[in-house]
């Protein structure tokens, strides 16, 4: 009999767990944040300080990538959906529409600062001195015919010297993030497209056939010269260390933390440093955003205070703790404007 009682207890426990799983009501007393893995290191710092300094719980932050974050964010209103999504690019019009369809109409957009994207190689090798045109010619899927005619050919270049005689005679080998990454999107847009635009006839194409132009200017070659090394930037740093001939693409904060191992390539005469990214003279930098559901303010405790913490000078200012973590702050007046519009909870009207 004792055995069967034990068995009954186990059965009841299992059933109770199942039932409570379904019953735990979708209510929350902490902020739920999703989105970009690039913004993640900055948002987490703010969240942790916010949790320590206030009576609110520390927000929970998931690193889902910019696109994945938008999908979750736009799925609807209510405690089971996230309150904030981080993005390493601006929300797309299509995503804004998706949000609207699901009732997420009042969205507050916050631009928090910038992140530089660096092309780096091992300290053991010489630093590269590149232009965006070199980068496009080395990494574009289709590039202008080397004979000078205005036609496109599949990328024929094997070494950097073929791209530009001033560059060293080493194989083109670039380690970078996969297409799902916001870093990759931004790199394609800023570096590749920036280089493609330097050919007037490609630039002219933009007005005629935008789709075709984008396909030319933003596609990365797939013949092995560009190596997808996963989302983990530390791994790219390690691989660069092992292979001094390769270049790697990652965020500025990783360059700063690994300055004993890797060095940033000079792009258009500018070395990637805190100052050159902040004053925009370094050409490959991108804005970082997060988006907030206005309708969740007052429902989920602490969102307003979180916004206040994020937009305070001690966080995103020039001497703030986010700058210590490698984020590049905006200019003083831009910060002031942004902070007042955010704390006034101005919503996005259209994109």
């Amino acid at each position: 009999m004792k055995k069967s009682i034990k068995l009954t207890i186990a059965g009841v426990a299992a059933a109770a767990t199942l039932a409570s799983a379904a019953a735990i009501a979708a209510s929350r007393d902490y902020i739920s944040i999703v989105g970009s893995s690039t913004v993640y290191p900055f948002a987490t710092v703010v969240a942790e300080r916010f949790g320590n300094a206030t009576k609110f719980s520390t927000p929970k932050i998931e690193s889902t990538g910019s696109g994945g974050g938008m999908k979750l964010f736009c799925a609807g209103l209510g405690a089971e959906h996230p309150d904030i999504t981080n993005a390493s690019r601006r929300m797309k019009a299509s995503e804004f529409e998706m949000c609207k369809e699901n009732g997420v109409t009042n969205i507050v957009e916050v631009l928090i600062g910038y992140d530089g994207i660096v092309l780096a190689n091992s300290n053991k090798a010489k630093p590269m001195n590149l232009t965006r045109r070199d980068i496009y010619l080395a990494l574009g899927k289709q590039v202008p015919n080397p004979d000078g005619s205005e036609t496109l050919v599949a990328n024929p270049y094997k070494t950097w010297k073929e791209v530009n005689p001033a560059l060293p005679n080493i194989k083109i080998e670039v380690l970078g993030p996969p297409p799902t990454s916001g870093t990759r999107d931004a790199f394609a847009e800023l570096a590749l497209e920036g280089g493609a635009k330097s050919f007037p006839w490609i630039k002219a194409m933009k007005k005629v056939d935008k789709k075709k132009y984008k396909a030319i200017a933003r596609s990365v070659r797939e013949d092995g010269a560009y190596i997808e090394a996963g989302e983990n930037d530390n791994l790219i740093v390690q691989k660069l260390n092992a292979n001094p001939k390769a270049l790697g693409i990652f965020g500025f904060s990783f360059l700063e933390q690994n300055s004993d191992k890797v060095q940033g390539s000079i792009i258009e005469g500018q070395e990637p440093t805190f100052d050159t990214i902040a004053d925009k003279s370094y050409p490959v930098s991108r804005p970082l955003y997060f988006y907030v559901k206005k309708d969740h303010i007052g429902v989920i405790p602490g969102i307003k205070q979180y916004l206040a913490e994020f937009t305070s000078e001690k966080a995103w200012g020039e001497d703030g703790y986010l700058a210590d973590k490698g984020m590049i702050p905006m200019g003083t007046s831009k910060r002031r404007d942004m902070a007042s519009s955010v704390n006034g909870l101005q919503t996005l009207k259209s994109l």
Partner: protein, 430 residues
């Protein structure tokens, strides 16, 4: 032909003797292959462990700086320790800054002071808050305390004497650290934070306890659900179910489920538990439910094997004494099969402990600072914590990652040892 002509008669024993040496050699080679495989496996294990331990051992020690700290009422803004509002706003960071200024009085410019303040961790202020709350008498007094150093200083200090890691430290910060070293005012102490705190973006404050507790709650739910369900399914299939096409189909499906990649269970969990039942994301309960689905086939298969191993004579004897089928199962078969079932379950649990792929889909890959206190608090689990730290830019997280791997391996080894012990202890042979 000519050979045969010279030795026309060859007895069996000659034939055997002739090939004997070759057969011995083949025998030796065969054993050598086995030993080589084991050696290769061991070598891989040794390389893995030395790599992890050499990288991770530093994480168990953390640099502390000795400072003279004055709990100055005016700096803190606290005049009555029992006043909660005053304590909530108290400026403990200011006290730490003051202590650093007193230690290095020659630092004057604003920029230098900012660099100086970076020597101490944010955790130093937390520690002071704890001290003062515990002992209100300290207000206004000066104490010599060991305070937590910043992660950059910590990594630099740990590499002094070897290949120095400069990282984000400035020349001045390194000079200050050196002067602290000369005065014996910086030292490595046991890193208690690592075992008591949740995740943090400051490597010196980041701990494994939050993830360990998340893993504990998750496994608890997995065990409570999958063990009874798995055992009940196994007993029915083995003892009571008729043998027909349906049970064959079920058996094939269970065996198939055991081989389904775990990420599929994550997708299933996302669709069923989160999107349909609205179970909250990122909680041990949803993780436990998903891992239950993943572990069930393992438990059912091993439980069935354990039940099969109970000799039919036991059942027949019990039947002969007049026991009902249920009594046969509960009084005789189940106790005898229990060791095998437990071993199978523990191995299933160990598998679940190390699993991270299905948890990606249901939001367990999250930054969670607060240590979870219940099954519906946001949490992460050990393997996910390792993944998150491995992806962090701060150099000090490299050693934390390896240390977290060590903790996870320790848990896995403990669980597998328990499985072996239980099997040895409870096993019956017929």
């Amino acid at each position: 032909m000519t050979d045969q002509a010279k030795a026309p008669v060859e007895s069996t024993i000659d034939k055997v003797n002739k090939t004997l040496a070759r057969r011995y050699r083949a025998e030796k080679r065969f054993r050598l292959y086995g030993m080589l495989s084991i050696g290769f496996g061991l070598l891989a294990l040794v390389v893995l462990f030395t790599d992890i331990i050499s990288k991770g051992k530093g994480a168990f020690l953390q640099s502390y700086i000795q400072l003279e700290v004055t709990y100055d009422s005016d700096v803190l803004g606290v005049y009555d320790v029992n006043d909660e509002d005053q304590m909530a706003l108290a400026n403990f960071e200011g006290v730490v800054k003051q202590a650093l200024r007193n230690r290095f009085p020659e630092v004057s410019s604003r920029k230098d002071k900012k660099e100086l303040y970076q020597l101490a961790s944010l955790g130093a202020a937390f520690e002071l808050r704890k001290q003062l709350t515990a002992d209100p008498q300290l207000l206004g007094k000066t104490e010599t305390l060991w305070l937590l150093a910043d992660d950059d200083i910590d990594t630099y200090y740990k590499t002094i004497g070897g290949e120095e890691f400069i990282g984000a430290t400035s020349d001045k910060q390194r000079a200050w650290t050196k002067s602290l070293v000369d005065a014996d005012e910086i030292e490595l102490k046991f890193n208690i934070n690592f075992f008591t705190r949740g995740d943090s973006r400051e490597p010196e404050l980041a701990g494994i306890w939050g993830a360990a507790k998340g893993s504990f709650f998750t496994l608890l739910i997995t065990l409570v659900l999958s063990f009874p369900i798995g055992v009940a399914a196994a007993i029915y299939l083995e003892e009571f179910a008729p043998k027909n096409k349906w049970t064959d189909l079920i058996e094939v499906n269970i065996n198939n489920l055991a081989a389904v990649p775990s990420i599929i269970f994550g997708l299933l969990g996302l669709a069923v538990f989160i999107n349909f039942f609205h179970t909250p994301r990122s909680t041990p309960i949803v993780a436990g439910l998903v891992l239950t689905l993943m572990t069930l086939p393992t438990i059912i298969i091993s439980s069935r094997a354990a039940i099969k191993a109970v000799p039919p004579s036991i059942r027949q004897a019990a039947m002969g004494m007049g026991a009902s089928p249920m009594q046969v199962v509960l009084h005789h078969v189940l106790p005898l099969a229990m060791p095998g079932m437990l071993t199978g379950s523990i191995i299933g649990m160990a598998q679940a402990l190390g699993e991270s792929a299905p948890l990606l889909m249901i939001g367990l890959v999250a930054f969670v600072v607060d240590v979870p206190g219940a099954i519906n608090d946001p949490a992460t689990v050990l393997p996910v914590q390792i993944y998150l730290w491995a992806d962090s830019p701060e150099r000090a997280f490299v050693e934390k990652t390896s240390a977290a791997i060590m903790v996870l391996l320790a848990f896995l080894i403990a669980m597998n040892t328990l499985a072996v012990f239980l099997r040895k202890r409870l096993e019956r042979r017929w």
